[in-house]
Amino acid sequence: MVRVRDLSKAFGGNPVLEGVDLTVLEGTVTALIGPSGAGKSTLLRCMNLLERPDAGEIEIGSHRIDARSRFSKRQLYALRRETGMVFQHFNLFPHMSVMRNVVLPQQRILGRSKAEAEHRAQELLARMGLADKGGQYPNKCSGGQQQRIAIARALALEPRVMLFDEPTSALDPEVGAEVLEVMKELAAEGMTMIVVTHEMGFARNVCEDLVVMADGGIIEQGDPQRIMGDPSHPRTRSFLHAVLQR
């Protein structure tokens, strides 16, 4: 389970998150949507402490961090180990082969042997439809391939929850569809996922929970079909209207 309690974060005096509470159940897929500047990405990045919240609590599995109190590096790494993150711009390591991108973190973070890590990497790359890409460098791969490699890299560390930060926003729609397909399969396998996205189809059809954010807070949360069909908050209504008009 992932639980965020009363989370606040400001950048240079501008509040970006104000007292956000969110609970994500094991094995569910949650979409975070909302207008830009709503704080979706910041909320996601606070969950693995890429951003340090000013106040509030983050709990993932058995690990809990209170932003107000001091926590050790060990606690920080323990929390991050529970999460895998996929970025809008993939952020693969350009100086390593695709295989090494997936192998090195396993060696460094899980202490796996090279053979073990390579075996796992090959398995994951095959699952992503990239079995033959191991020897390539990331820049020789298409955007959609790079994003699937990034997903494999994160999955290789066996995270409890996967955080996706606009994973298809930098991709052409049809390439994005390949990535969404992979994410859909992951969801079907029971992976806990939190997805910041503008893909309303994915949010509606794959996600169990829809969280609508605006101005640093959650304004509506619940069943995606219901919210999209009958939004109760005027901000949700205008946002959905704007997005679905496109």
Partner: protein, 210 residues
């Protein structure tokens, strides 16, 4: 005449190499301080860098030559030259490395952190290898510059190539040829280094275009 120039070559290369090594070693803590995010460390490193770069090398060499004593013994001319050139190099190299590090995208740091890498692992496996590729051309250019700047050591009496050539010119009254010869040696060393660096750079960016 050839003999005069040739006898100076080992010290020219020695001063250059030793200063480059010291400079590299000095640049790393300076770099770490400027990147630490700690204001005091940053300020301290900035002051050291600006101080070292703000004074002409020849002045530093005289300061170290006349000013640094080890117990009762004075620093040798070679020691003063290597120390002075090395420290100044450290300041310049710290800046070259800092530029290279800042060329590595923030996403690389984020990806490493999100994977749960320790900061040491992040630097060793992700940032340094990428930054090094960016820094290499600037580093070699600096190294070639340093080779030429090592001639400044002649002012405090290090018997490197320019010192030897000067001596020869003074004693024989024949200056032009011996200095042309010295010039040729500088070119003979620096041009291949430059070519080699470009080769390596091309090869690396062919594999990993960014």
């Amino acid at each position: 005449m050839l003999h005069a120039v040739l006898t100076g070559i080992p010290l020219t290369l020695g001063v250059t190499a030793a200063a480059l090594i010291i400079g590299t070693l000095v640049s790393l803590p300076l770099l770490a301080c400027t990147l630490s995010g700690n204001r005091l460390l940053w300020l301290g490193a900035r002051m050291v860098i600006d101080l070292l770069r703000g004074v002409p090398i020849v002045v530093w060499l005289f300061i170290f030559y006349y000013g640094v004593t080890l117990g009762s013994a004075k620093l040798s001319a070679f020691g003063a030259a290597v120390l002075g050139l090395g420290l100044v190099s450290g300041a310049y190299l710290a800046e070259i490395f800092r530029g290279a590090v800042s060329s590595v995208s923030a996403g690389q740091f984020e990806a490493g952190r999100a994977l749960g890498m320790t900061s040491r692992g992040l630097w060793a496996d992700i940032i340094a290898p990428q930054a090094w590729r960016v820094a290499l051309p600037g580093y070699t250019t600096y190294g070639i510059g340093l080779l030429k700047d090592s001639s400044i050591a002649s002012t405090i009496g290090v018997a490197e190539m320019v010192f030897q050539a000067g001596n020869f010119a003074r004693t024989t009254g024949n200056g032009i040829v011996v200095f042309l010869l010295a010039a040729a040696v500088y070119i003979l060393v620096s041009v291949p280094v430059g070519i080699l660096s470009r080769r390596v750079d091309e090869r690396m960016s062919a594999v990993v275009a960014r």
